[in-house]
């Protein structure tokens, strides 16, 4: 379904956190045009790596989840605007 592997070996937990937020926020992800889908996948991979870096640094899991949610929220807003422009 998703391909947010990031660019290095990562903890499954980091991927689960990002995938959970993506499912909640970008429910229409599967129907995005290919070019946007590629961009979203790259963004999510970057978020997975960031999440993993935060976990490794010992940051609070609730703070990490909140950070991912915030970062995906504004990304989603930009994505929706872009989709509307293309209509």
């Amino acid at each position: 379904m998703y391909n947010f592997d990031g660019d290095r070996l990562m903890n499954d937990e980091a991927r689960r956190i990002v995938e959970g937020e993506v499912s909640r926020r970008l429910s229409d992800f599967e129907n995005l045009p290919d070019d946007l889908r590629d961009l979203v996948e790259r963004h999510c991979s970057a978020l997975v790596n960031l999440t993993e870096a935060m976990r490794q640094a010992g940051k609070d899991p609730a703070d990490i989840r909140s950070m991912v949610s915030v970062l995906l929220s504004t990304y989603e807003a930009d994505l929706v605007r872009l989709m509307e422009d293309r209509k």
């Binding site: 961009l39 963004h43 790596n49 870096a53 935060m54 640094a57 010992g58 940051k59 915030v70 970062l71």
Partner: protein, 321 residues
């Protein structure tokens, strides 16, 4: 992912061109930028965090936490060092660091003592700016913090990539209408004179009807390529509608504008596009100078009217108004 081997650290004109492709310098930053600096300031517990972009001469802050956004001479800023390095730039005590001890941000009122910056590196290897934190006390940075900052920088570039997708027409690679209009609006706000040239492909409907829409799409791409080759870095180029395009160039004398428009027209006319038999692709161009007080809409209408006149008086020609 950007690999260090593909970094282009010694090509400043290429770097500035990469920055211009993002069209971020004068435009509003993605909303996510503010989130990034706010989060970073909190995670690092430092007084200041910023996302900056750097053009030929100056650094522009696109988002900031703990301070106001502003413009600074490029050479004075620690971020100018950051964009010239492959990895992070870390200064734990700037007054004892020979790279920064004479820097005005260290010696002046700002009194900056600690700094960490990650370059914002485009997928084609150009560092267009930096994501940085700084404070007024010396400070150590842990390996974990360094990794976090590097990963945040990749998130910022990814936000920029999405924004760029919104500004570029997928078929032709020209600016989208909205992006082109926004750019013109910024220009009009500044009050500086310049030229807007509208053009469309002559008898484009007949190309679609005779050869099919897939050939029509290739014709659009072909014309866009011709214009881009011709323009190089002289102006902005947008797709305004189906087969309508527009070019925005700086202020020149009317004769020069006419000459430039004819250069575009001839570039298309003399180009080779063999998918439509022995027919030739041509364009009709309308050029309008911006007059003080004109809104973007007024300006569009003037250029559109001139283009219509070029169409109705024979096509494959230039009309300037």
């Amino acid at each position: 992912m950007t690999h260090f081997s593909s970094l282009k650290l010694n090509d400043d004109p290429g770097r500035v061109a990469a920055l211009e492709r993002y069209d971020i310098l004068d435009a509003e930053a993605p909303a996510g930028f503010t989130d990034v600096v706010t989060l970073l300031k909190s995670i690092f517990d430092m007084p200041y965090a910023a996302i900056t972009v750097i053009d030929r001469r100056s650094l522009r802050t696109k988002a900031a936490a703990g301070m106001e956004c502003g413009d600074f001479p490029r050479e004075d800023t620690p971020c100018n060092v950051t964009i010239q390095n492959a990895g992070l730039t870390v200064a734990e005590n700037m007054s004892a660091d020979e790279r920064f001890r004479d820097n005005p941000f260290v010696t002046g009122d700002a009194g900056i003592r600690s700094y960490i910056g990650a370059p914002l590196t485009s997928p084609d290897g150009y560092s267009i700016g930096s994501l940085c934190l700084f404070g007024t006390e010396p400070r150590m940075f842990t390996e974990g913090e360094k990794t976090i900052l590097q990963n945040f920088a990749k998130v910022v570039v990814s936000q920029l990539e999405l924004r760029q997708a919104a500004t570029v027409d997928r078929l032709t690679g020209a600016m989208t209408r909205r992006s082109f209009e926004d750019d013109l609006a910024r220009h009009v706000d500044k009050g500086s004179a310049s030229w807007l040239m509208f053009f469309d492909i002559d008898r484009f409907k007949s190309i679609n009807d005779t050869f099919g829409h897939h050939v029509g799409d290739k014709a659009l791409r072909h014309v866009a390529d011709c214009i881009r080759d011709c323009l190089q870095s002289e102006g902005k180029f947008g797709r305004i509608g189906g087969e309508e395009f527009a070019v925005h160039i700086g202020d020149v004398a009317v004769e020069e504008a006419m000459e430039f428009a004819n250069k575009l027209r001839k570039a298309v006319e003399t180009s080779s596009f063999d998918m439509i038999g022995d027919r030739t692709i041509t364009i009709s161009v309308g050029a309008a100078h911006h007059t003080a007080g004109d809104t973007v809409e007024d300006w569009f209408q003037k250029a559109d009217k001139a283009m219509y006149q070029a169409k109705t008086t024979g096509r494959n020609k230039v009309i300037v108004c």
